[in-house]
Symmetry: C4
Subunit: 235 residues, 4 copies
């Protein structure tokens, strides 16, 4: 696997977690990881079932989404990943799935409200739903523009990509990221669980109110604040 | 298994995927595959549990649904499969299940609206629900007429069976097809997942709008259009 | 296991299917089978987790629910099973579970309407919900009276226990039966699946109509009528 | 593992049951068990995935939640457990999860009504939802005050912690307890199943009524009353 052996194995492992976590059916998803020193990222090949995927199938691309190593065609969503790596310096991995509940919220074109501490343990705002882009963008360089659909949504809402690490692409499905691809996978699983809980909350109480600010702050800070006391101190 | 060994094994393998994909309970489903050269198709025997099914149990039938090889009685839905093979030249396999969410839509007598790109990756129209047939057809050659219930529904809506490869038989459940039985199974799994997502979308937002046309077209074409760039180029 | 070895093994196997089918949590369910020649039935011991259950733990009781063989205390629902064996000559097995969707209908005190052919393949009426009994019956010989709650419900509705082999005990959960305990287990799984589909049908279309009579009749008769053509002819 | 080997193993085993029962995603939960003679309890370390947890990772704490043995940082919810052990003499174990349906009820800020006998087999009142505490408590010694949020809720409603062994912490999720940690785990699984059934009951019948008093009493007493006849007499 030449120069990219470690990166390909990391991308392979991350992709293989997606079906195990129940986040993908067939090939409906893709994970990528970046090597900032080399200025490349590795991504799942397009349309290859997880059961047949091997580390050597991972495609290495530059930040324009152009393949530079590997025998396969990269994921059709490659340019979206490329934009995120280019615009967001601090991220190490990106994951896209069509996980059932998060996708339903994306199809409903609704942000996922913060109803509880499970959500606030990860972010203190709603999970934003980026509305579909204009027709000429869709008809143009679609996957590239999907990257900017995400970028523009966070920017307009004045959200920091280091704090909000998951988003719904309207009518499509969730994208998540993290400092490593492992954390991006983790955020995909959290996003799906939070999406399911929020759906059920509204079914039980259509007038459910958002979590109060003090609880949002408390839960986020105990995991991610400067005096965080969750975990073993090495997150 | 005589002249039909390969066909029987293909049908056996396809049927065995149905319980693994969570699409059938007990014997609630059947898959068939055609051999166009010999003018026959193989289908699951009626009422045999998947755990006991063997390749040699597959029944070979002609395009009138008449068994011509095998020791078992074929699926009670055999004549429906026969009509589809007779009317639709290009299909290689047919699958029928009572998968939970797709069946619920069929029972609700509702088409499944295109709410997102997961759906548009496969078809750009609603998944049609063919309304129940007239009483004298039900009391007559029921399973044969079910084939024409499907055929007539597509015809009336001016839909092409090569583009719309899944349908709901009203009050009953989904039928899917494809150029191979493997693809027909795949479409059954996609139909169930799309049915679940559409159900959840309407629960979250009862006023959810259909996917915009440009997104429908983009997603369908990137997988199935003449310049498709999804997959490894051999779909 | 003395005189009842075969019966105990049959009851053991049937009980062990319940967790595998996802119909019970912990010890929330029980299956029994009858030996009409000996005038006894075997039933699961009370409160024993499935993981620890052994064939020799099965308790043999007479038709008054009195234990006559075995070292364990029988299921707390034993007298309900006893009433069903006494009143319904043709049944060979009885199963009670708290399976999630069927129990939700029982708690909602609603019959499960016939919305589709999956239901009509087994019975052509709604799955009846027997309303809770009078307070003095509850405070009296409760489990014995639960048997008569079932018996009276079918009688009042003029339903034949040979055609309607599943019922919801209101506020409690489903009971099913069959000519063998294997068929009673099968009916419990069908009841749960039909309950889930009917729930989803009403969520998708609150005005969903019952299945038309011709379809009810057609599907029931092709499996159970005198000219049935479903299965391999030995049901 | 020094003086606490047995306690650590008991806590380890209880924690490992949570993912097997489908009650936790990643590290979203914690189980603890007490040794009353030594005046300590063992609890899961904070943020450690279940797949990596080992018995020696369990942290031993005093009743103020202060770690006194072990190399890991204890669960961030440790002080909540500590309060429950201090205030409730008769409990041997405490479990906290973010199980999906119970958490949805907590997020909806609704008590779970007693709709059926599955619920009444364990408690005859609604499962209480303790409303979120005042802002200064949240900003102060939050996890300690969460213990008193639970304690005060039971006290205000005049509920006995020996009869009501499960509660929803509003906007957060369920806490359960029992005479042993094994029973606390069991109550977490029951709470989740009862939460799911109650949710479905209200979806099927928004006007569903609570279980009648005689049925509540009958079911609770046959399992827990002085003349209980459920189980093998050694609960």
């Amino acid at each position: 696997m030449g120069n990219y052996k470690t990166l390909k194995e990391e991308v392979y492992e991350a992709n293989m977690q997606l079906p195990r976590l129940g986040l993908v059916l067939y090939s409906f998803g893709n994970a990528s990881a970046v090597d900032r020193n080399k200025g490349v990222f590795g991504i799942k090949p397009s349309g290859v079932p997880y059961a047949e995927l091997r580390p050597e199938d991972v495609v290495i691309c530059d930040f324009n989404g152009k393949p530079i190593d590997g025998n396969r065609r990269p994921s059709s969503d490659t340019k979206t990943h490329a934009v995120l790596y280019k615009e967001y310096d601090a991220i190490g991995g990106v994951v896209h799935t069509h996980s059932t509940y998060a996708t339903a919220w994306a199809q409903a074109l609704k942000d996922i409200p913060v109803f509880g501490t499970t959500h606030a343990d990860y972010l203190i705002t709603d999970i934003p739903c980026a509305l579909p882009m204009k027709d000429d963008y869709i008809q143009g360089d679609y996957e590239h523009m999907t990257g900017y659909q995400i970028f523009d949504c966070l920017k307009e809402r004045k959200l920091d990509y280091k704090e909000v690490q998951m988003i719904l692409v309207g009518s499509h499905g969730p994208f998540t990221w993290g400092t490593t691809v492992g954390k991006a996978v983790y955020h995909s699983a959290v996003c799906e669980e939070v999406a399911k809980m929020a759906y059920l909350t509204l079914q039980i109480n259509p007038d459910a109110l958002p979590l109060k600010d003090t609880l949002k702050r408390k839960h986020f800070d105990r995991k991610h604040g400067k005096d965080a006391y969750y975990g073993q101190g090495c997150r």
